[in-house]
């Protein structure tokens, strides 16, 4: 029984981390229409920043030179900050031009980051990566309770980020983003600085990915280049399309369904010989789900609703005019 609870805690933590990524993709694509494919690049930057900042001096065959030996919260904040800086550098040339460019450059960024992580041993310890990454409150909470605590901590952080994302979505800022997504010239002619809005939401989403990266390294207690392949980005994308773009509830639902299905798949592995076939079938299924949903059910499980108009003091509630947005 206790094993089952541990398994549940581990799945919850993983789902929580992926929920953050899906929320970030939702901020980028669902709200602002930015197609950022390489969010895994930001996750990797976050995870490695956390690992390096909280790292102690190298031992044995470790080859890294930089370590700061800081407590976990410093590493956690640093992960967010450093990721934001990277995102700013990416956004600078790409957000001014068409959406296609952002797709390509973020995609390439993720690949390049993975290459750098494997090859820059002085900074990242190469393909050996970092093991025994420092976990928060590890020395206070011992033994089998720790996974439960970690799952709880991650759920709390996901809750906070969800509230922030929800607030962003319903705020004037979020309305501007949606206007921009649906009709960019109209938003521009209303005096909105489209570039600045795109940049801000891009940075926010990237920072969330960076924090998720740090949490991923708590969960795995590892930071390895091979953990940050493109499949992480695609999982978040599939989850978002599945759940429904443009609303945070959809992002959460989609992640739970997708990750739940992935975990359930793990039970099917009968023999070692079957394992590669099962993983290929999983690839095919994920691709098919994505295509079928886009083709037949483009709104996803939880369709986007246009938010209620803000209640202003002294103004009578009017009927919303943009009724067709409901469809």
């Amino acid at each position: 029984m206790s094993n089952f609870i541990l398994f549940l805690a581990s799945v919850t933590a993983l789902i929580g981390i992926y929920t953050l990524l899906t929320l970030a993709v939702n901020l980028h694509y669902g709200y602002a229409g930015l197609l950022s494919f390489g969010i895994v690049g930001f996750v990797a930057v976050g995870a490695y920043t956390y690992a390096i900042v909280t790292r102690a001096a190298p031992v044995g065959e470790d080859v890294y030179h930089f370590y700061f030996n800081q407590p976990w919260w410093v590493g956690f904040l640093a992960a967010g900050v450093v990721t934001t800086i990277f995102a700013f550098l990416i956004g600078l040339p790409t957000l001014r031009v068409e959406g296609d460019y952002l797709l390509i450059v973020t995609f390439a960024f993720a690949e390049v980051i993975q290459k750098l992580l494997s090859n820059e041993g002085w900074l990242t310890n190469g393909t050996r990566g970092f093991i025994n990454v420092h976990q928060p409150f590890r020395d206070v909470i011992v033994g089998k309770n720790y996974p439960l605590f970690l799952a709880g901590l991650i759920v709390v952080i996901v809750g906070i980020v969800y509230l922030i994302a929800q607030r962003v979505g319903t705020s004037p800022f979020g309305r501007t983003l949606r206007a921009m997504r649906d009709n960019e010239p109209a938003a521009l002619s209303n005096g909105k600085n489209v570039y600045s809005f795109k940049m801000r939401i891009f940075l926010l989403g990237a920072a969330i990915c960076g924090l998720a990266g740090a949490m991923y390294s708590w969960y795995m207690t590892l930071a390895l280049p091979s953990l940050f392949g493109m499949s992480v980005s695609f999982a978040a994308w599939i989850a978002l399309i599945l759940g429904g773009q443009g609303n945070n509830k959809g992002a959460v639902v989609g992640t739970i369904v997708l990750l739940g299905a992935q975990q359930a798949f793990k039970f099917i592995q009968l023999t070692p010989a079957m394992a590669p076939i099962i993983s290929s079938i999983q690839l095919i299924m994920e691709g098919l789900v994505l295509v079928l949903i886009l083709r037949f059910w483009p709104a996803g499980l939880v369709p986007e609703k246009s938010p209620k108009p803000p209640r202003l003091p002294g103004v009578k509630a009017e009927k919303p005019q943009g009724a067709k947005e409901e469809a």
């Binding site: 797709l103 390509i104 390439a108 695609f234 295509v291």
Partner: protein, 282 residues
């Protein structure tokens, strides 16, 4: 010198692959991530004919190109044609889904391990002490050049090509003027996939096959496409040779693992200076 030859070869592969990618971008308006998988399909179907059935490599290559063209068209017919009119970014996501499906099928059929053609390495032609290129390599460059020339003549000299260009510049206007857009779209997908398949066969000849090869090359293809100006066919041709040569020649100065990093940095610089690519849209 050897690096220049490899650079030229990679450039030719990228040229064939990116031209197809750019044609689809122009006609259909979306980034076809699944185009990388056309390379994989071409490479693996050539593997079937050459290594499993033991046929001549040239015959296998031609058959592989035909097979890829048909598969590419079928994918478009089943998946992309019904999605016409949806936002292009959404169709791009659908094409990643297709990439997954194709990669998974290849993995099931051929296993996750790296494969090679049954094709003996050829002796390089020597001038004095300088070893130049093998006859196979020269044949590949010639094939790529011929394919590019064929495409150029098709687009500029024939009725079909002119109609395709008209469709590329204004889809609705072309349709109103009585150009048969549905049939031309089929031609475009056939040609683009065939070129991708040829590029895949060439990859199989110069390196090896792996189920994930489609993903490896789609990134280079997209980088070339940006450098040449998205959707520009002639820009893509020149940009492919530039990227091919730069990534291979840079090995002389910096470690080989960084050739992709170089291409990436180049793209960021190009986007900062000339966001529409180095060539004007043709």
């Amino acid at each position: 010198m050897q690096f220049a030859v490899y650079g030229l070869l990679l450039g030719c592969v990228l040229l064939l692959a990116t031209v197809g990618f750019s044609m689809i971008r122009r006609i259909e308006g979306f980034l076809n991530i699944a185009h990388g998988q056309m390379l994989a399909i071409g490479a693996y179907s050539c593997y079937v004919f050459n290594s499993l059935l033991g046929w001549n490599i040239i015959l296998s290559a031609i058959l592989a190109v035909l097979v890829t063209a048909v598969i590419g068209y079928l994918v478009a017919q089943v998946v992309f044609f019904p999605l016409k009119g949806k936002p292009p970014l959404l169709i791009a996501i659908a094409s990643t889904g297709i990439s997954y499906v194709i990669q998974g099928i290849i993995e099931i059929l051929f296993g996750p391990f790296v494969k090679q053609y049954r094709f003996p390495p050829m002796r390089a032609i020597k001038i004095g002490n300088l070893s130049l290129a093998g006859p196979d390599q020269i044949a590949m460059v010639l094939a790529a050049g011929l394919a590019a020339l064929f495409l150029h003549l098709l687009l500029t000299r024939t009725e079909t090509g002119k109609a395709i260009r008209a469709m590329a510049s204004d889809f609705d206007l072309a349709r109103i003027r009585g150009i048969k857009t549905p049939r031309l779209r089929i031609y475009v997908w056939l040609i683009a996939s065939a070129l991708g398949g040829l590029a895949g066969v060439m990859i199989g000849l110069i390196s090896r096959l792996a189920p994930y090869m489609g993903w490896e090359y789609i990134m280079l293809i997209m980088i070339v496409a940006i450098l040449g100006g998205l959707g520009s066919i002639y820009g893509a041709m020149v940009a492919a040779l530039i990227i091919g040569l730069i990534t291979q020649m840079s090995v002389l100065v910096i470690p080989a693992q960084y050739s992709q990093v170089i291409a990436f940095v180049l793209i960021i610089v190009v986007l900062l200076i000339r966001p529409k690519g180095i060539f004007k849209e043709a």
